[in-house]
Symmetry: C2
Amino acid sequence: MSVMEVDLHKLKVSDPFLGQYQQLVRDVVIPYQWDALNDRIAEADPSHAIENFRIAAGHSQGEFYGMVFQDSDVAKWLEAVAWSLCQKPDSELEKTADEVIELVAAAQCDDGYLNTYFTVKAPQERWTNLAECHELYCAGHMIEAGVAFFQATGKRRLLDVVCKLADHIDHVFGPGENQLQGYPGHPEIELALMRLFEVTQEPRYLHLVNYFVEQRGTQPHYYDIEYEKRGNTSYWNIHGPAWMVKDKAYSQAHQPLAEQPTAIGHAVRFVYLMTGVAHLARLSNDEAKREDCLRLWNNMAQRQLYITGGIGSQSSGEAFSCDYDLPNDTVYAESCASIGLMMFARRMLEMEADSQYADVMERALYNTVLGGMALDGKHFFYVNPLEVHPKSLNFNHIYDHVKPVRQRWFGCACCPPNIARVLTSLGHYIYTPREDALYINLYVGNSAEVAVGNETLRLRISGEFPWQEKVTIAIDSAQPVQHTLALRLPDWCDAPQISLNGVPVTSEARKGYLHINRRWLEGDTLTLTFPMPVRRVYGNPLVRHVAGKVAIQRGPLVYCLEQADNGEELHNLWLPENATFTAFDGKGLFAHKVLIQAEGVKQTSDKPEQQSLWHYDRSPATRQTQTLTFIPWFCWANRGEGEMRIWVNEG
Amino acid sequence: MSVMEVDLHKLKVSDPFLGQYQQLVRDVVIPYQWDALNDRIAEADPSHAIENFRIAAGHSQGEFYGMVFQDSDVAKWLEAVAWSLCQKPDSELEKTADEVIELVAAAQCDDGYLNTYFTVKAPQERWTNLAECHELYCAGHMIEAGVAFFQATGKRRLLDVVCKLADHIDHVFGPGENQLQGYPGHPEIELALMRLFEVTQEPRYLHLVNYFVEQRGTQPHYYDIEYEKRGNTSYWNIHGPAWMVKDKAYSQAHQPLAEQPTAIGHAVRFVYLMTGVAHLARLSNDEAKREDCLRLWNNMAQRQLYITGGIGSQSSGEAFSCDYDLPNDTVYAESCASIGLMMFARRMLEMEADSQYADVMERALYNTVLGGMALDGKHFFYVNPLEVHPKSLNFNHIYDHVKPVRQRWFGCACCPPNIARVLTSLGHYIYTPREDALYINLYVGNSAEVAVGNETLRLRISGEFPWQEKVTIAIDSAQPVQHTLALRLPDWCDAPQISLNGVPVTSEARKGYLHINRRWLEGDTLTLTFPMPVRRVYGNPLVRHVAGKVAIQRGPLVYCLEQADNGEELHNLWLPENATFTAFDGKGLFAHKVLIQAEGVKQTSDKPEQQSLWHYDRSPATRQTQTLTFIPWFCWANRGEGEMRIWVNEG
């Protein structure tokens, strides 16, 4: 079943909520990140990313500085700019981006190679350390930027650069005798080449992805071969010499993908890889790879996914742990991993047309992805805990990776530009335009034009999602268009009501989508009502970290308790089983957001620090009622440092 | 108030429970450890400790092998042998020990210096790296061994060796121009020199301890001075270059002791240091140092002590964390730290005659210390968690330090010989013979002779502690002795009953001890009844890790649930608030031990792995009654690998 891509030119986000985020990305994040890339943020570690390109291009003298994958920050910024230009043209920004693209082009070697670390610092070491050195990863991000910039502006300059780069890579890698039989330590090139294939229809790119995927994890192991060939040298020594080479599961290379039973290793690597594999499986009609995607998705979504849409439950290796091991306070749950999860979900949706993927995508978007950025657009979380006790963070090293408030730009700055690019390309996630139907995955307010055969379906989604239950979809096409609209019925909604021009639609849903086939006329109006009562969420009995506890969700939003509203000792608050909830409009920082209150109980005592540590009797006068105030978790830590927790004692 | 030391010759442990442990130490642990020190345990890492002494003595050729503190294993073994010989003479064992002592003497340098690492491997580097290299620590352990062997056998050979060593150290360290103004990175020499002072009455040893204690943490910092002097080289690089030098709080050297507000850093270092300081404070009548002891004890005991008597709540640095941060699963709680805690408590008791110190000592002994050794005497825990989920241990690196079952001898083998020496010297903890009274701290069955002025008080404690509530103390002195017996009233016992020759004693207790002054006659019999109902223990409200949970204790013993009795998913078991307990005698492995059962509830569902990870409604049919079986925590993990937890959901 063929799937088109939404043309982001023809989609305008008008959502009052996410629209603000897009505006924040345009007005604050993109300019701020531009300053960061140019080392103009006084209080942040220098990035040096643009300067590295200048040096590689011969426009400047100096040494490479930064992470081995520093180039990718520039690529992700370019991609965000591209998508932002679709939303709102900005000639000055476009001019700046054009200049960066010229700089990138100038930094490209004659043979197509493009990577400032190796060009400037270690030109003899090109392609000698795939396991550790992110060359193919950086290439992938630049390819994504090239595709995006072409799609956004029609300009081929960067697209030509990345085609030349991709051709070079296709020349270097493959089964041939004079080729390298390698594949990336950090997947990304796979999903990028699939996008390039879609734009260029060059089959070599698809074949190269297939080669990378099938070569992965085979024996004799390429990481060992290249390690020996370069004299057992190692770039990263954080966890001991050559740990990235040795711990092959870290990069999902311990065995062929077809044999891997579970989501494993570095969470970002996993979802990036699987995004490419799902895209490849669909476009090459590869049933075996589709099965791999289903199996690994299921393991992740059914056993290793936080309620927040976070993945990667441990700091060591920023990695998955094992089934049902989901600690709330020592969790990693990198923002980038949830962005990658949205990308993986998007490709699964395109392949399967099953709303379970959109449910996860929505969970990730409205919780961890939005939560990764402060409401001011200038501060970011890399790690997204579900429970924080600030007083312990500086003392217990199991919390070394956890920050109690969002930080400015990071030394390893993958998350901020990644958040920017996903928020500016939301249109790709809202719709899946399949041949059989236009699938509507997310109820983000927008107006869009989608090609249906030779015709154009114009539609407009409006509402106050995720705060209000009503969503309206209006048809604006001047000419009637025969097509199916497939409306996702969210998993969190027990009793959705859909009406067309006031008449209830009663057709049955398939795989979570309600299909309405019709000759759509201008003025047709679908009214969707997704009742949003406050719901109690429980964990699977195998998740020991939430036994006896409950989480609060309304619509797709997971809520939490913060110290600012509820005082210290959040662990001593109880939500009675019969407590009723009041949802109400917030004020100030929480204006246009819905907060929740319930009567709870606090079990504590006066001056506990004067009491013994362990005592033999429960003192009788320790229970007092207290109003519990829940805020949407994505906007925690916007009021300074304090305790936070999602999972609350129940009983 | 002067305090004598119990002469372990004149004390025979007859306790049916701890006596078995002493026998295990004699019959299994000491011979096994002797084999280990001589590298005769096939499946364990080689120790090389005896061979190192042979090489240093010139009796053998080769290189030093092992930890920089490998010598201390030999010293701790010698100390355990000494105390064991007091309990039960063994001429063959004594002959072996004498040979080891000759070997140690032969390894001593002419100037008194004694350390095989430096003698063999780096003779030019003596005393150049106090922060990292354990020279004074090893010296301290050998001094303890020398004192013990002299006290046990009357033989001065090792005592003379360690006096020569102590004299050498006294010569090297001090305020003089040609002396080093340093102090140990790992405290131990302080407590050892205090013991040597008590035996020899040589005041230089006490003054040297005082110097080490007062010099500690002063500026300019000695660790930095010696680091610079030796050209910034570092022995340990585990947590980065010279981390032991830089992280001065790790060894309680970040500021002078008088200014330290909390128990901090490496837990073993802390309690070893404080053991010496408390001894010093008492014998030098130093009120300021006494205040330091009280302040730091109180912080530790009231805010950083596990219910098991474990200390050190994090793996990183095997260290304290901060007030009330007491995680159950990622805890360190090293066996040696609880042994050190018993030593610290002993010295506090000698100074304060307050039962709170004995309560902690008993808690540590009957839970973490006993728990550190398997019932077979051949397997040991270094780390003592309060909750284990074996399925997650190999996947989540926050558990890298946790073992689900006890291991044989360790590469860094501090714990096994430490357990052996404390179990063989129990007499030092049972009694505190003060001038005003004989304090009875622990109700371990034994018969003892204690000097009272020129007379000798003979007494015999019997019973089935900690299993049965009744303890009998019988006086065996042929001649009447006028003295006070001070009987500890355990904090876990609400209604102790004491009778003398059948007549209830009604005098009031002072600082937790019931004082009975009398002319004690042969045949006098004290009957102590310490009712041992099963008690529920709760955490201070500031301990977030146990909110809503309860622990079970009977007498001094903390109980736990194990998978072997209760199935998997221990986190899904609930103990109702009104559940009643049945205590009963165990069988097989648990013969002569009391187990506990209660009717509980299991909240789970059939085939949870087939269900969603997060679900919106509590399914109704998930509660079923289940008998909960609690075993004494110290004997967990004697039936293979399985889940374990002390803190159980209540409600």
